[in-house]
C-alpha cells in the first residue's frame, strides 16, 4: 500500500515535470509580451520602461536559462514570482485555492450524491414515468451550456426573486462572524455550485442508471433474486455497489479537472477562485502565475486520481495492492 502510493507519487512527479516543460514553451509561444502588457496598462510605455520590466522578470535571459531557473524553482517547491501582482505565485494561489476547493468540492459532493440518487431511482423504476422524467432532465442538463445555466440562474434567483446573492464569496462589508458567516458563504455558494453541479449531476445520474441496468443483467443479481431478496435490497446492496465502480472512476477523473475547469462559473459569479486567476493570468501573460496555476491544477488532478485509485481499491476487493 505504502509502496503503491510511493510509486504513484513518483510517477506523478515525472508527469508534472514534463507538464511544466511543455507548458513553459506553450505559454511562451503565445503572442504578447508581459512587459508590453504592463506598459500598456500603465497607459504609457517608453522603451526604458519596457526594458526595465523585462530585466526585472528575467525575460531578457535566453529561454533555456529561464526554463532551467523555473524548473529549479519548482523542484524546491518555489513557483516563482508573479510579474503583474508582484507577489510570490504560491501566495496568490493559496489565497484563491480555498474558494475554488469550496466551490468545486460542494458542487462535486452535490452532484455525486444527487446524481447517484437520481440515477439509482431511474434504474430502479426503469421504464416508468419517474425514469423518463429523470432521464429527460439529465439529458437536458447535460446538453445545456454551463454559462447559460449560470445566466438564467442569476436572472431567476437573484434578480427576479432576490433570494440569493449573484456574485462573490460573502457579503462584502457585512463583517459576519461565526455561524452567520457560514450561512452567508453558503448562500453565496448555492448558485455557482449548482451551476457546476447540474452538469455533473446529469452525468453521474446517466452513468449510474446505465451502469445499474447493466449490472442488473449480471448473473449474481439472479442469484440474489433466487434468494428471495426484495428488489429494493437487491438494487441497493448488490446492483448499486457494483454499478458505482465505474461512476467512482469517472468522478475521480473529473474531480481533479473540476478545479481548473471552473473558469466560466467563477467568472460569471465573481467567485474569487483559481480558475479565474488562471484566466486573468493568461490575459496578462503573467507566465509564472499561469504556469503555477497549471502546475497546481495538474497536481490536484494527479492527487485525485490517486485518491480514486485508493477508493476503488478499497471498494473492489478484486484489485489488490501488489504485495
Amino acid at each position: 500500500m505504502i509502496s503503491f502510493i510511493a510509486q504513484r507519487i513518483a510517477k506523478a512527479i515525472i508527469v508534472l515535470l514534463a507538464l511544466v516543460v511543455l507548458n513553459f514553451f506553450l505559454i511562451r509561444m503565445a503572442p504578447g509580451d508581459p512587459a508590453v502588457v504592463m506598459a500598456g496598462e500603465a497607459g504609457a510605455g517608453d522603451q526604458l520602461f519596457i526594458v526595465q520590466l523585462r530585466e526585472k522578470f528575467g525575460l531578457d535571459q535566453p529561454l533555456p536559462v529561464q526554463l532551467f531557473l523555473y524548473v529549479k524553482g519548482i523542484l524546491s517547491l518555489d513557483l516563482g514570482f508573479s510579474f503583474r501582482q508582484q507577489m510570490p505565485v504560491s501566495t496568490l494561489i493559496l489565497q484563491r485555492l480555498p474558494a475554488t476547493l469550496l466551490l468545486t468540492g460542494t458542487a462535486f459532493a452535490i452532484s455525486l450524491a444527487f446524481g447517484i440518487l437520481f440515477g439509482a431511482l431511474a434504474a430502479r423504476f426503469a421504464g416508468t414515468w419517474a425514469d423518463t422524467a429523470i432521464t429527460v432532465a439529465a439529458l437536458i442538463f447535460y446538453a445545456t451550456p454551463l454559462f447559460w445555466v449560470a445566466l438564467m440562474a442569476i436572472l431567476l434567483f437573484s434578480v427576479a426573486m432576490d433570494w440569493l446573492p449573484s456574485f462573490g464569496y460573502e457579503t462584502v462589508g457585512a463583517g459576519y462572524t461565526g455561524l452567520t458567516h457560514v450561512f452567508d458563504v453558503a448562500a453565496h455558494l448555492i448558485l455557482p455550485a449548482t451551476t457546476i453541479g447540474l452538469f455533473f449531476m446529469a452525468t453521474y445520474a446517466r452513468m449510474t442508471r446505465a451502469s445499474m441496468l447493466e449490472v442488473g443483467r449480471l448473473d449474481f443479481v439472479k442469484t440474489a433474486r433466487a434468494k428471495g431478496l426484495s428488489d429494493t435490497v437487491i438494487q441497493r446492496r448488490h446492483v448499486l455497489r457494483n454499478a458505482l465502480l465505474p461512476v467512482v472512476t469517472l468522478a475521480g477523473l473529473q474531480a481533479g479537472t473540476l478545479v481548473g475547469g471552473a473558469v466560466l462559473t467563477e467568472t460569471v459569479f465573481a467567485w474569487p477562485g483559481i480558475g479565474r486567476l488562471m484566466y486573468e493570468a493568461l490575459l496578462q501573460r503573467d507566465y509564472n502565475l499561469l504556469l503555477g496555476v497549471f502546475v497546481v491544477c495538474s497536481a490536484m488532478v494527479l492527487a485525485f486520481n490517486l485518491i480514486t485509485d485508493l477508493v476503488y481499491r478499497s471498494v473492489d476487493p478484486r484489485i489488490e495492492f501488489a504485495a
Binding site: Q7, D219, A224, A226, G228, S230, R237, H238, P317, R318
Partner: protein
C-alpha cells in the same frame, strides 16, 4: 410429489428462435429424487428452471399450463408471495460460479443474506449458520472461506459456496442449472457427489439440468429429454439411458463417445512432423518499479514428438498449461526455453517475414466457434485471407475456398455470408476450412469440440478424423474431455502443473494408467458404469 409442471407453455418474444421456449411441457419432481433434464443447447432447459423459480426474463411469458408446488399454482403468485417462496422452499444453483456470486461481498455475508432475506435469526446466528454450512459443503479452511471474496476461491470452491447458499434454508426443491459444466472433471465428480449426498440427507427434490449424459448416468433417478422446447421422452434413468424410445434420445446417446479407445496402428515408425524439445514458459504479470511480480509457470520441460499422420492428445485439468503449450507450438507466444522443430525449420529461432512464411505449415483450429471468426468479414474472406497473404492469386484462392467448404460439408454459397448466419457446428467447420486453406502439415486443435453439443461434437470429430486420413495431416489435439481424447488420439500426453506426467498410446493409457494423477483423472470421468451399460 413436490412439484408438478403441467402443460407449461412459455411464449418467446417475436423475432426469437421459435414461438415457444417451452411448449406443452409436463413433468414432476418428487422428494428424495433427482430429475435430470437433458437436451441440446437452446432446447429450453433453463427456461423450465427459471419458470419454476419465478425468474423468467421479462420478455418471456407463461402462456398456459401451471406449476403446482404444494398444491398452489406458483405461476399465479404475486411478487411478494414469490419472495417468501424463493430461497426458502425452492433454491437454485447456477451454471457459472464465476459470475453467480457478487464480487464485492464476502462469501459468508452472501450466505447469511439467505436468512436475512426471510427475516430469520440474528446477525450473529446467521454468521454461525453460514460457517456451519460452509463446513457441510466441505470448503477447506471454513473460517477463512467465510471471510473470503469470491475471486479468492477456485471455481469448484465457489460452486460449493453456491450450494451452501442454496441449502441454507433447507428448501424442499433444489434447482441446479448445469452446475458442473464449467468445472474440471475431478472437481465435477466431487460436486456431483456432494449434491447427491446432500439430497439424500435432506430428502430434497432436485431438478438437475445438464447436457452431459455421463452426468445423467451418474446421478439421475428420472430423466426428461427436451428438444426444441418439447418433451420427447421421460422416464427412469434406466428406461431412458438403456431403453430409449425416441430417435432423438437415441441419437444423443449414440453421440456420447465411450472411454474405450478404438484399436489403432502405431505410427511411431514414421518420420517426425513436429519435434518439441524442452519447452518452458513462465508468465510474469505485474511488476514495475516498486511492485513485485506474479509468476505462473505454465510449461516446464515439455517435450514430445508428433509423427506424420498421427494425432497426439494433450489432456489435463484446467490451468495445467495445455493451451500454453499449443500457443508455444504455434509461436503465438515466445518460449522461455526449448525448441519447436517442423522438419528442419526451428520455429523458435526465426521471426518477422520468415516466420510468417513458415506459419502455413502449421495451422490451428480454435475452441470457440463464436470468437474465432471475425464477425465483420465474410466467410469467403476469412478463408482466403491466409492464402492471399502467402501470395496465392485471389481467384485461385476463392476457388480453393469453395472446394474446402464442400470438403467440410458446407456449400460454396457460404462464402458470401457472415459468420453469425451459421450455427456453432457450421462455424467450427469454417474454422477448419480456414486452417486447411494453407495446406498445412500439422493441425493444432485447442478444445476444438468442447463448446459444441454432443451430437455436433460427434460430427466434427468424424470430420477431423476423415480429413486427417485423407490429407495425411498430423494433429495436436487438446481437450479436457477424456472420452473425446480416447476416440480420436493415437497417443495421449497427460499434463499437470505445466509438465507432462505421462505419455503413451491411448489404449495403453486407459488400460494401464501409471501416474497417480492420470488415474485420478480417469476415475473422475462421470457415468462410467452406466454408460458402459448403455454402450
Amino acid at each position: 410429489m413436490t412439484v408438478a409442471i403441467k402443460n407449461l407453455k412459455l411464449a418467446l418474444p417475436p423475432g426469437g428462435d421459435r414461438a415457444y421456449a417451452v411448449d406443452d411441457v409436463s413433468f414432476e419432481l418428487s422428494a428424495g429424487k433427482i430429475l435430470c433434464v437433458v437436451g441440446e443447447s437452446g432446447s429450453g432447459k433453463s427456461m423450465c428452471a427459471h419458470a419454476l423459480m419465478g425468474l423468467l426474463p421479462e420478455t418471456v411469458t407463461p402462456e398456459s399450463g401451471e406449476i403446482r408446488f404444494e398444491g398452489k399454482n406458483v405461476l399465479a403468485l404475486s411478487p411478494t408471495e414469490w419472495l417468501a417462496l424463493r430461497g426458502r422452499d425452492i433454491a437454485m444453483v447456477f451454471q457459472e460460479p464465476m459470475t453467480a456470486l457478487n464480487p464485492l461481498m464476502r462469501i459468508g455475508d452472501q450466505i447469511a443474506e439467505m436468512f436475512e432475506a426471510h427475516g430469520l435469526l440474528t446477525p450473529k446466528e446467521r454468521r454461525q449458520k453460514a460457517l456451519a454450512l460452509i463446513r457441510e459443503v466441505g470448503l477447506p479452511d471454513p473460517e477463512r472461506a467465510v471471510r473470503a471474496y469470491p475471486h479468492q476461491l477456485s471455481g469448484g470452491q465457489r460452486q460449493r459456496a453456491m450450494i451452501a447458499m442454496a441449502l441454507a434454508l433447507e428448501p424442499a426443491v433444489l434447482v441446479a442449472d448445469e452446475p458442473t459444466t464449467a468445472l474440471d472433471v475431478t472437481t465435477q465428480a466431487q460436486i456431483l457427489k456432494l449434491i447427491r449426498d446432500l439430497q439424500r440427507r435432506r430428502n430434497m427434490a432436485v431438478m438437475f439440468i445438464t447436457h452431459d449424459f455421463g452426468v445423467v448416468a451418474e446421478i439421475a433417478d428420472r430423466v426428461v429429454v427436451l428438444q426444441h422446447g418439447k418433451v420427447v421422452e421421460q422416464g427412469t434413468a434406466d428406461d431412458v439411458l438403456l431403453r430409449a424410445q425416441h430417435p432423438y434420445t437415441r441419437a444423443l446417446l449414440a453421440a456420447v463417445p465411450t472411454l474405450q479407445p478404438p484399436q489403432r496402428v502405431s505410427l511411431l515408425d514414421r518420420s517426425k512432423a513436429v519435434e518439441v524439445i524442452g519447452l518452458g514458459k513462465t508468465y510474469v504479470s505485474g511488476g514495475g518499479w516498486f511492485r513485485s511480480e506474479r509468476r505462473v509457470q505454465a510449461a516446464k520441460e515439455v517435450s514430445f514428438d508428433i509423427f506424420r499422420g498421427e494425432t497426439l492428445g494433450l489432456v489435463g485439468e484446467s490451468g495445467s498449461g495445455k493451451s500454453s503449450v499449443a500457443r508455444l507450438v504455434m509461436r503465438l507466444i515466445e518460449p522461455d526455453a526449448g525448441t519447436v522443430r517442423i522438419g528442419d525449420v526451428d520455429l523458435t529461432k526465426i521471426g518477422g517475414k520468415a516466420l510468417r512464411e513458415q506459419r502455413r505449415r502449421i495451422q490451428m483450429v480454435f475452441q470457440d466457434p463464436f470468437a474465432s471468426l471475425n464477425p465483420r468479414r465474410k466467410v469467403g474472406h476469412i478463408i482466403t485471407d491466409g492464402p492471399i497473404a502467402h501470395g496465392v492469386d485471389p481467384a485461385a484462392a476463392r476457388k480453393r475456398a469453395g472446394e474446402l467448404l464442400s470438403l467440410v460439408g458446407l456449400n460454396a454459397g457460404a462464402m458470401e455470408r457472415f459468420p453469425h448466419e451459421f450455427s456453432g457446428g457450421q462455424r467450427q467447420r469454417i474454422g477448419i476450412a480456414r486452417a486447411l486453406a494453407l495446406d498445412p502439415e500439422i493441425l493444432v486443435a485447442d478444445e476444438a469440440v468442447s463448446a459444441l453439443d454432443v451430437s455436433v461434437q460427434a460430427q466434427v470429430l468424424d470430420l477431423l478424423e476423415d480429413l486427417k486420413a485423407r490429407l495425411g495431416l498430423s494433429m495436436l489435439f487438446i481437450t479436457h474431455d477424456l472420452r473425446v481424447a480416447a476416440q480420436i488420439c493415437d497417443r495421449i500426453a497427460v499434463m499437470q502443473h505445466g509438465t507432462i506426467v505421462e505419455l503413451k498410446s491411448a489404449s495403453l493409457l486407459f488400460a494401464a494408467p501409471e501416474h497417480a494423477y492420470t488415474r485420478e483423472l480417469l476415475s473422475a470421468v462421470p457415468g462410467q458404469t452406466s454408460s458402459s451399460k448403455a454402450a
